[in-house]
């Protein structure tokens, strides 16, 4: 059995809005193993995106995480991300856990070009490495040319960069880097950064990485923008990638390209991916395990083949039946996702469930392992699988 990289236990999240308290997540349980792609499906408004945001602890303002644990196993000791300070989390965000978003163009800052935005990530998390590379380059140029006039500047640059390497966050260097002539040493750093950025973009299979690096977000097509966003996420080789519906707004061909790209990169870097979507086709194509979410609860999680062949939870069954197929009448799930201000008592699916029993109204079902690696939270299977 492979190791876990992240486990979410009993995560509870509430939004304190004017209409009342929205119980967005109610005891969410998830496990992501090393090197796997976990799919998370569900209707809109089920709390899929919020789950991914709460893993990074960046839930927008009225939302508050009320309880639970998010354990991250990448370090020597497992850490609970919810108990950590902001400064510690900032080092994890983007470096160890990165995120891809639904609407790529809205998630790029319109006033900066692609090169700036990717190099910002690099300078935040891989500063030492970049400085080291620049220093090596300087050593090489010194070896090649022994011109005395150039030597002075290069020595100066080397000295400054060595200082920077010694203490990357020193305030005096920050101030010096704002003064025009003195910040000359930054040019060479920027050159290395640009090289690095172009290299990363090349890996994203962009046609013209040099041009894209200098382009602004509005000049990119949405497919290109999505690749740039993926490049930003993968710039620091994260161990966990949260992909929040990255292909939803793209047309099918681009969607396919992005999916193959994601799979290829996943194999190359060995990252685990949490892939959020409402498209069962994408899940079947990409993921190895699936979690089905409904109204802030994970109701079923199992292997992909298992879910498609043998769904247990009534909601998962209904979801699979509502995939449109030629020659069959179009089926939907009766009713709508309930308002989470006053969520249904007991099992949250009971008012739409064809198999609803009396116990479903009164009691919350437990999240149990009914088969090997197959978890369900439903009263139908409380006494084991029939």
């Amino acid at each position: 059995m492979t190791e876990e990289i992240l486990s979410v236990q009993d995560l509870e999240l509430r939004f304190y809005t004017y209409e009342g308290v929205v119980e967005a997540l109610d005891k969410v349980n998830l496990k992501i193993k090393k090197g796997e792609i976990l799919g998370l499906v569900g209707e809109t408004g089920c709390g899929k995106s919020v789950t991914s945001l709460s893993i990074l602890n960046i839930v927008p303002s009225p939302g508050k995480i009320e309880g639970g644990q998010i354990t991250f196993y990448n370090r020597e000791k497992p850490v609970d991300l919810l108990q950590q300070k902001d400064a510690f989390l900032r080092k994890i965000r983007g470096k160890e856990i990165a995120m891809i978003f639904q609407e790529p163009r809205a998630y790029l800052n319109p006033v900066y070009n692609v090169r700036y935005q990717i190099s910002e990530v690099l300078m935040l998390h891989r500063k030492e490495e970049i400085i080291q590379k620049t220093l090596e380059e300087i050593e090489n140029t010194i070896k090649i040319q022994k011109n005395s006039k150039q030597g002075f500047f290069i020595n100066y640059e080397r000295k400054m960069l060595q200082k920077m390497l010694k203490n990357p966050n020193s305030i005096s260097l920050k101030i010096l880097s704002k003064i025009p002539v003195i910040n000359r040493y930054k040019h060479r750093l920027n050159k290395t950064l640009k090289k690095e950025v172009v290299e990363i973009l090349k890996e994203m299979e962009l046609a013209d990485p040099d041009r894209v690096a200098e382009a602004y977000p509005h000049e990119l097509s949405s497919g290109m923008a999505q690749r740039v966003v993926i490049a930003m996420a993968l710039a620091c080789n994260p161990t966990l990638l949260l992909a929040d519906e990255p292909t939803t707004n793209l047309d099918v061909t681009v969607q396919f390209q992005i999916l193959t790209l994601i799979r290829k990169l996943q194999q190359k870097f060995g990252a685990s991916i949490l892939y959020i979507t409402h498209d069962m086709g994408v899940i079947a194509e990409l993921c190895s395990r699936v979690g089905v979410m409904y109204a802030g609860v994970v109701c079923e999680s199992a292997d992909v083949v298992e879910i498609f062949k043998n769904p247990l939870h009534p909601y998962a069954k209904a979801l699979l039946e509502s995939i449109p197929r030629p020659g069959k009448a179009f089926k939907t799930i009766e009713g709508i996702v309930p308002s989470l201000v006053n969520p249904p008592s007991g099992c949250r699916f009971h008012d739409r469930c064809p198999y609803a029993m009396e116990i479903c109204v009164n009691e919350k079902p437990k999240f149990l392992e009914v088969k090997k690696e197959h978890f369900v939270s439903c009263h139908l299977y409380c006494g084991g699988l029939k």
Binding site: I58, S61, D86, R93, M99, Y107, N109, P110, E214
Partner: protein, 387 residues
């Protein structure tokens, strides 16, 4: 060979900037009014830069207008210089634009008044921008109690009628010297650093929040020190301060709340945008998000209003001078020259030059900045740009 290669390299690197500049130039060329605005401002800038050549000073302090005797009635353009041998020596032959009552030379006043106008406009608007933007972004980004406190303070200043508050401040700042109490400043800085350190190290707040609290701490110290204890100063120097400087300080204090409100509203909008969430997900700190991600997106409307305001501030300063509490008597200032002529404004227009010429300068200057503000909007505003 090497140089040519380098030039090629440079061109390649600068290509996006060059195309951007070309795009800007095209936009500018399309709107003739913005060209007019720019032409007017460049014209005034040239006047200001060439003032010593155009109007060589005939007094010890070049900002003081030279006088030709002290005859009360104004004299028309082209009248001869009677009682100022120094001016004749410097090279003036006649009063080109005439004289004001009490015989101040209008030509000299108008030329050197340009420098004053630029100084007033740019210093006041710049100071107000810095104060307004700092308070606006902190209030808008953190929200909650910080926002409430800062915005209510802004409202207090906004509630006063601007010109009257400025007048009160000018008269309230006593003496013509500005005492700079280094001990007081040192204590303020100490309190700022102390509060910030306590917030960040002991209370474990984020850097932006702890800076805000440090600022608050310094303010509280200043308040207690000045108003409660009225503490004596230990190490203090005194800077000379003319009445115009007082007016500048007063106008800055009156002027910043507008920018604060504008920036805060923009920040509240941009804070909700998706790319800020993305910046957080990438691991940016609060201060980085504020100054690198929000400000460049929010600053354009503020820059546009600021360039419009430069004209307005010059008008307000002229009004202060007109009321007699702006620049000192005899200072090269358009508003003051009009105030000299206030008894000669009549329908027969017998001495029109005394108020019309400086008034025309003010009109042109304000008009130029307003047109330039429109041009800035065309060039800079990302919402209007690519249509």
């Amino acid at each position: 060979m090497n140089i040519r290669y380098r030039i090629e390299e440079f061109k390649k690197g600068m290509a996006p900037h060059i195309s951007e500049a070309k795009f800007m130039l095209r936009r500018i060329r399309k709107s003739p009014l913005s060209i007019a605005g720019m032409a007017i401002i460049i014209f005034f800038a040239l006047i200001a830069a060439l003032a010593p050549v155009l109007a060589p000073p005939a007094t010890r302090d070049p900002y003081m207008i030279w006088k030709d005797g002290s005859f009360t009635d104004p004299r028309p353009p082209g009248s001869s210089i009677l009682r100022n041998p120094k001016a004749l020596e410097v090279g003036y032959t006649t009063h080109i634009f005439g004289t004001t009552p009490e015989q101040y030379d209008i030509y000299y006043g108008c030329i050197w008044g340009t420098i004053t106008a630029f100084r007033v406009g740019i210093l006041v608007v710049g100071g107000a921008l810095i104060i307004g933007c700092l308070i606006g972004i902190i209030a808008g980004y953190y929200g909650g109690i910080i926002d409430e406190l800062m915005m209510r303070f802004t409202d207090v200043i906004f509630a006063f009628p601007g010109l009257i508050l400025a007048m009160a401040l000018v008269t309230a700042i006593q003496g013509n010297k500005l005492p700079v109490d280094f001990f007081f400043i040192f204590c303020c800085v100490l309190f700022f650093i102390g509060f910030a350190l306590i917030c960040s190290k002991i209370l474990k707040l984020s850097s932006g929040k702890s800076l805000a609290f440090g600022f608050l701490g310094a303010l509280i110290f200043a308040f207690i020190d000045i108003w409660v204890f009225n503490s004596p100063s230990y190490w203090k120097i005194v800077l000379p301060m003319s009445r115009l400087d007082k007016a500048l300080i007063a106008l800055t204090i009156v002027g910043w709340p507008g920018y604060t409100r504008l920036l805060r509203s923009e920040v509240l909008r941009i804070k909700q945008e998706d790319f800020i969430e993305a910046a957080k997900a990438v691991g940016c700190s609060d201060s980085r998000i504020m100054f690198k991600h929000i400000i460049p997106n929010a600053i354009y409307p503020i820059l546009i209003t600021a360039s419009l305001d430069i004209g307005g501030i010059v008008l307000t300063a002229a009004a202060l001078s007109f009321l007699g509490i702006g620049s000192p008597r005899g200072y090269a200032d358009w508003g003051q020259m009009i105030s000299f002529a206030q008894n000669y404004v009549n329908l027969r227009m017998t001495s029109w030059y005394a108020f019309f010429i400086p008034g025309f300068f003010i009109l042109l200057f304000v008009l130029g900045w307003n047109l330039l503000g429109d041009a800035f909007r065309d060039i800079l505003d990302p919402m209007l740009r690519r249509k």
